[in-house]
Symmetry: C2
C-alpha cells in the first residue's frame, strides 16, 4: 500500500496503527538520497574499522542525506491456516515546511545514489510533490510550545495585553483609524467587520490594542485571502460563542500539529509497540530513522546503543543472521535479492504468506527491488525462512519459530557491520567484540603505489589481504601471525615505505591524539569554534575496555568481500536452540522503554554536550 | 523545446548551436535545488551589505545547490516583418556520474525551494532520470587526460608494458593458464578468444603481460556482459586491422567524452558567441552557471568580476533596468511576472514576437512561470520592451533598439543586488558604488527585542528604517544624518543596548579582524588546516579604495522592499541615449575574451591560492 501526503496519509493512518497493533513482527527498509558524502564508500569502510570508528564515519558522512522512502511490512501469523498475513506499506517522506516559521530542512543528494534509484524506476515526484512531512521530537516540542504560547496570548493571559501598547509614531494614525472603525462597528447592527490587509507588525499592534481595549465582546482572527494576503476579521460574540470558537480553533490547531508530526507518528507507533523489527543490513536504516524522526545522533557510540535499544528494544538483522552459523555454510551470497532466492531452495522452506485483504500483494517472481515496501516484505520472508530452519534443527523439530522465540534471541540487537573483516556486528546490548589483530600490519608508502606493489612487497609471505586506508597507507593481514615481526624487521632500512604492527599503529595513533589534544587545549579558538560546551571527558570513555566475548553470543566473520570463509566462527549452541519460546507480551516492555527514552533524552541533552566535547580528546583504549 | 539526456540532447545540439549562431541576444534563467543554506534568506541579505559581503554570503551559502533546469531563449530580429523570432530551450541538467571513476557530485536541496517548485508542477523525474550530464573545465581536462593516458598505454607507448610484469604469487597460476590458452589460440584457426570474467586487477595483469609478450598480431579489449561482468576478448589482427580498430575506439571515446561534457557545451557556445545575455535578477544565475560549468568561484569578488566578464562579456539584468530611470518612475513592481504584465501597457509597446518553426510557442496569457525556458522567454520580452521604450525617448524616436545599441550600454554588466538599500547593483566592470552611510546607526540589544522595541527606542527621530543583522543587532537608518550624533550621545549610559555610528562600526570591525588576524597567525594549526597555500596579501586588496562613481554609469536605489523611493537617482543622460548604434560584430570580441579566460584561469590557479590565503586577513578598507 503506497502512502503519500496529507489526505491519503490521514485516511490510512488508522490502518497503519491497526497493522502495528496486530503484528507479530515488522520488517523495515529505507531508501536514501545518498549513502556517503565522503571521497568514496570504500575509503570510508576500512576492513579494520573499530565499531566506534565506523559509527563516527557513518554519523559524519551519511546523516545529511534524506531517508525519503520508508517500507514497513507487518507480519501476523494465522494459526488456523498456518500462514503469515502481511500488510505492506510504502511511505514517501519529505520535510515539507509546515509554516513560514517552521524549520527549512536542507538535505544532501548524491548523484550516484539518485541515478541508481532513477534506473530502478523510483518516482521522485512522489517524494517531492507528495511526501509525508515529519518532525523530530525537539521540533514537535517547539511547535507545541508555539501553539501553547499563541493560545495563552489569545486567551488574554499573555503579559503583552495587560497594559496599553506602545504604538510607534508612524503607526499611530493607522491604529487610530482602526479603533475608529471598530467603535463605529460596535455601535452598528453589523455582526462582523473585515479590516484591510496590512503588515504582520500592524496586525500584532491591532491584536494587542484590541485585547487591551476590548477584553470582552469581540472575537479577533486573522484570515488569508486567495491572494495570500492576510487581514483581520472582527466579530461580535457573547462569552459562550467566544469560548466555542476558541475550542474550535484549538481542535483545528491540534490537527495541524498532528499533521506536521506526520510520518514520525508511524515510527513512534512501531517503537512503542516494543515488537521485533527486522531489517537487512539495517545499521544505516536505524541510524537514519532515529536521526530523522527522534533526535540528532549522539556523539558517542555507547549513547547511540542506549538510545537505539530504547527506541527499538528488539532489532534483528537478516544479513547478520544469514552470515552466521548454521546459515553461513549453506548461504553463499547474503545480498537481499540473492538471499531471498536461496531461501526458497532446500534445505529451506519458503513460508506460506498472504497479503491481508485490501493490501496489494507482491510477487517475488517479478522483482520490485529497491522499492522500500518490497524490500521490507522480502526481508520479512527471509527472516521467517531462517527462523523456521532453526526450528527444523531442534529435537524434536519445530515447524514454526515465532518472532518471540528464544531460539532467535542470539540474533537480537546485533547489526551487521559492512566490510569489517573480523567484527561481524555492532552489539547494541553491550561492548563490542575485540578480535586479536596480531596478524595485521600497517603499511605506509608513496601515493604512486598500487595494489600490485603491495602484493610484490609481501610476495614472500604467501596469501595476504589488503585493506586500503587512504592513498598512502593500508592494513595488510598475513596468514601467519609469526611472520608479522619478520616483515617489520625486514622493512627497517626501507626508505620508500614503512611497516609497523597493528599494536604499534594503535599506540602511535593514541599518542598523536594526546599531542593533538594538548594542541587543541592550547589553541582555545579551535575548541571554542567547534563546540559550544567544553567540559571534562564523559563517563562512557572507558566502557570499551570491557571484553566483548560472552559465551552466549554467536560470532561470525564477514563472509562478503573479505573472503575470510576459512576462519572458524563460534556456532549457536544446541542449548540455545533448545530453549523454549518466551510468550511474554512485549508491549508493556515497549511502553516502559519509550518512557525510559524520554527520560534518557532529557539526560542526554546535558550529557550529550559533555560527550560532544569529550569526543575531541577521546582515545579508544582497546580495539 | 524541452531537452533531456543523451539521444535527445545529441540530436538537438546542432539546433541549439544554430540558434546561438543566428541570435541577436539571449535570455537565460536557472532553477535551483535551493537558494540559501543559511539560517534564513533575510538574515543573509542585510540591507547594508557591501557587494563584497554579499558575494561572500552567496558563494558560501548558495553554491552547494544544484542548477537543475536551464532556460535559454534566443532572439533574432526579422527586419522584413519587424518582428523577433524566438527559439526557446528548456534544459534539464543532472550530474549523472559518467563512469565509476568520475566525480560523484553531492548537492544540497532546500525543502522550501523543492516544495515551491513542486507546487509549480516542476517535474523532478525529468531532472533525476533524464537530466543532461555536464563537466566543469577541470573535470573535462582530467577526463581528457585519462583518455590520452589509456590510449598511450594501449598503443604500447606506456612504460608499464616495456618489461616483464611482476605477477603476485597468488596470481601466477591464473596468468599462466591465460597464457597457455592464448598459445593454443594462436596455433588454432579461431579468429577470437573469449576469456572468463575476472577482477580488474587480473585484467590489468593480463593486459600488461600480453602487451609485453605479444606486442603485435593480437588485439585485446574488455567487454561487458549483460550482467555487467567484464571479460577480455582477444582477436588475431594484422597491423592495418589493428590500427582501424584503434581509430574506431578513439572516435568512440571522443564521442563518450563529448557526451560527458554534455550541457557544458551549450554554455561554452553561449559564452564564446560573446553576444548579449539577458537575465532577470541574474546574479545567482551567473554565479551558479560559472560555478557548475566552468570552475569553482574565486575567493575574491574582483576575481569573480574578471572571470564573469571573460565568460559573459555582455550581461544585462532586466530587474536592474526596470529599477533605474527612466523606468523606475513608471514601474512599481519589478518581479518578473508583474514586470511582464506592466510592459504590455502604455507607455510601453509589447514587441512583435513569434517562435521559430519547429519550436513550441509560449502563451504569456497562460503563465508557465518558474519553468526556466518560459522565464527566459518573458525576460527577453521585457528587455525588448524596455529597450524600445528608450528608443521612443530619442529625438527623433527610434522604433526598435537592438541588443548592440549604444543606448542600452549603460545597463551592461551591472547585476541587480537584492535588498541592498543604497547600492543597486554589482558593477562587473569596475569598482562598486560607495554610498555615504552617515545616516546609519549600528545598534546592539538583548535578543528578546523585536522590531517594535527598536521603533520605540527611536520614536523621537521620526521615520526610521531597520535592517536586521542578527538576533541582537541591526542597522537603523535615520532620515536626518544630523540626528545620528544625538542618538549616539543619548545612548551613552544605556545598559541594555548600544548605539554606534556606521563609521565606528566599520572601524571596530576592521580592528577585530586585525586582532583575529594576529590570533590566526599565532595559531598556525588553524591556518594550516584551512588553506594549503599560505602566502602574502593579493594584489586586489586595495582595489576597493578607488571610488566607483563614473559619470557615464547610471545609478538607482533598490526600489523593492527598502521603500526608499523618495531618493533621487542619477538619470541616463540624453547624450547617452542619442549615441548611435554600434554595429560591430560581437563575435571576434567574444572569441578574444574566451581566449583571455583560458589564459586568466591559468593565472588564477596560482593567483587563486594567493588570494585565497589573503582572504582570511583582508579588510575592506572602504565601504
Amino acid at each position: 500500500m503506497e502512502i503519500i501526503r496529507s489526505i491519503d496519509f490521514k485516511i490510512n493512518l488508522h490502518k497503519v496503527y491497526q497493522a502495528i497493533e496486530e503484528a507479530d513482527f515488522f520488517a523495515i527498509d529505507g531508501e536514501f538520497s545518498g549513502i556517503s558524502d565522503g571521497p568514496s564508500v570504500t575509503a570510508l569502510t576500512n576492513g579494520f574499522d573499530t565499531p566506534e570508528e565506523r559509527y563516527q564515519k557513518l554519523k559524519k558522512h551519511s546523516m545529511d542525506f534524506l531517508l525519503f522512502q520508508f517500507g514497513l511490512c507487518a507480519f501476523k501469523y494465522d494459526q488456523t491456516d498456518s500462514k503469515h498475513i502481511t500488510k505492506s506499506f510504502n511511505f514517501y517522506v519529505f520535510p515539507k515546511p509546515f509554516s513560514r516559521s517552521s524549520p527549512d530542512i536542507k538535505f544532501v543528494c548524491q548523484s550516484s545514489s539518485i541515478d541508481f534509484l532513477a534506473s530502478q524506476g523510483f518516482d521522485f515526484n512522489k517524494v517531492f510533490c507528495s511526501g509525508i512531512p515529519y518532525l523530530n521530537q525537539e521540533e514537535e516540542r517547539q511547535l507545541r510550545e508555539q501553539f501553547d504560547e499563541k493560545r495563552s496570548q489569545a486567551n488574554g493571559t499573555g503579559a503583552l495585553t495587560k497594559c496599553p501598547v506602545t504604538i510607534p509614531e508612524d503607526q499611530r494614525k493607522f491604529i487610530d483609524q482602526v479603533i475608529e472603525k471598530i467603535e463605529d462597528f460596535l455601535q452598528s447592527e453589523e455582526k462582523s467587520l473585515d479590516l484591510e490587509p496590512c503588515t504582520g507588525f500592524q496586525r500584532k499592534l491591532i491584536y494587542q490594542t484590541l485585547s487591551w481595549k476590548y477584553p470582552k465582546g469581540i472575537h479577533v482572527e486573522t484570515l488569508e485571502t486567495e491572494k495570500k494576503e492576510r487581514h483581520i476579521l472582527i466579530s461580535k460574540v457573547d462569552e459562550e460563542e467566544r469560548k466555542r470558537r476558541e475550542q474550535e480553533k484549538y481542535a483545528k490547531e491540534q490537527e495541524e500539529l498532528n499533521d506536521a508530526v506526520g510520518f514520525s507518528r508511524v515510527i513512534h507507533a512501531i517503537a512503542n509497540s516494543g515488537k521485533l523489527v527486522v531489517g537487512h543490513n539495517m545499521l544505516l536504516d536505524v541510524m537514519h530513522t532515529i536521526h530523522q524522526f527522534y533526535c540528532p545522533l549522539p556523539a558517542d557510540l555507547n549513547e547511540f546503543k542506549e538510545m537505539t535499544t530504547c527506541v527499538f528494544p528488539r532489532l534483528l538483522d537478516t544479513k547478520l543472521m544469514a552470515s552466521t552459523q548454521p546459515f553461513k555454510d549453506i548461504i553463499n551470497n547474503t545480498s537481499l535479492a540473492e538471499l531471498e532466492k536461496r531461501l526458497k531452495e532446500t534445505p529451506f522452506d519458503p513460508p506460506k504468506v498472504e497479503s491481508a485483504e485490501g493490501f496489494p500483494s507482491y510477487d517475488t517472481a517479478s522483482e520490485q527491488l529497491h522499492e522500500a515496501g518490497y524490500d521490507a516484505y522480502i526481508t520479512g520472508l527471509c527472516f521467517i525462512s531462517m527462523a523456521n530452519y532453526l526450528g527444523s534443527l531442534l529435537g524434536p523439530p519445530k515447524m514454526c519459530v515465532s518472532a518471540r522465540s528464544k531460539h532467535i534471541e542470539p540474533f537480537f540487537n546485533k547489526l551487521f557491520l559492512m566490510r569489517v573483516m573480523d567484527i561481524p556486528y555492532l552489539n547494541l546490548e553491550g561492548p563490542d567484540l575485540q578480535p586479536k589483530r596480531d596478524h595485521v600490519l600497517h603499511v605506509t608508502f608513496p601515493k604512486e603505489w598500487k595494489t600490485s606493489d603491495l602484493y610484490q612487497l609481501f610476495s614472500a609471505f604467501g596469501n595476504i589481504q589488503i585493506s586500503w586506508i587512504d592513498d598512502t597507507s593500508a592494513f595488510v593481514s598475513l596468514s601467519q601471525p609469526e611472520q608479522v615481526q619478520i616483515a617489520v624487521n625486514t622493512s627497517k632500512y626501507a626508505e620508500s615505505y614503512r611497516i609497523q604492527t597493528y599494536a604499534e599503529y594503535v599506540g602511535r595513533k593514541r599518542e598523536d591524539k594526546q599531542v593533538k589534544r594538548k594542541w587543541t587545549e592550547d589553541s582555545w579558538k579551535e575548541v571554542d569554534r567547534k563546540q559550544p560546551n567544553v567540559s571534562g571527558p564523559c563517563s562512557h570513555t572507558n566502557s570499551f575496555t570491557a571484553t566483548g566475548m560472552t559465551g552466549k553470543r554467536t560470532r561470525s566473520p564477514d563472509p562478503g568481500e573479505a573472503g575470510l570463509e576459512d576462519r572458524e566462527p563460534e556456532e549457536i549452541s544446541d542449548s540455545e536452540l533448545e530453549q523454549t519460546d518466551s510468550c511474554v507480551d512485549p508491549l508493556p516492555e515497549g511502553r516502559k522503554k519509550a518512557k525510559k527514552l524520554k527520560r534518557m533524552k532529557k539526560e542526554l541533552s546535558l550529557a550529550g554536550t559533555v560527550a560532544g566535547s569529550a569526543m575531541l580528546f577521546e582515545v579508544p583504549d582497546t580495539w
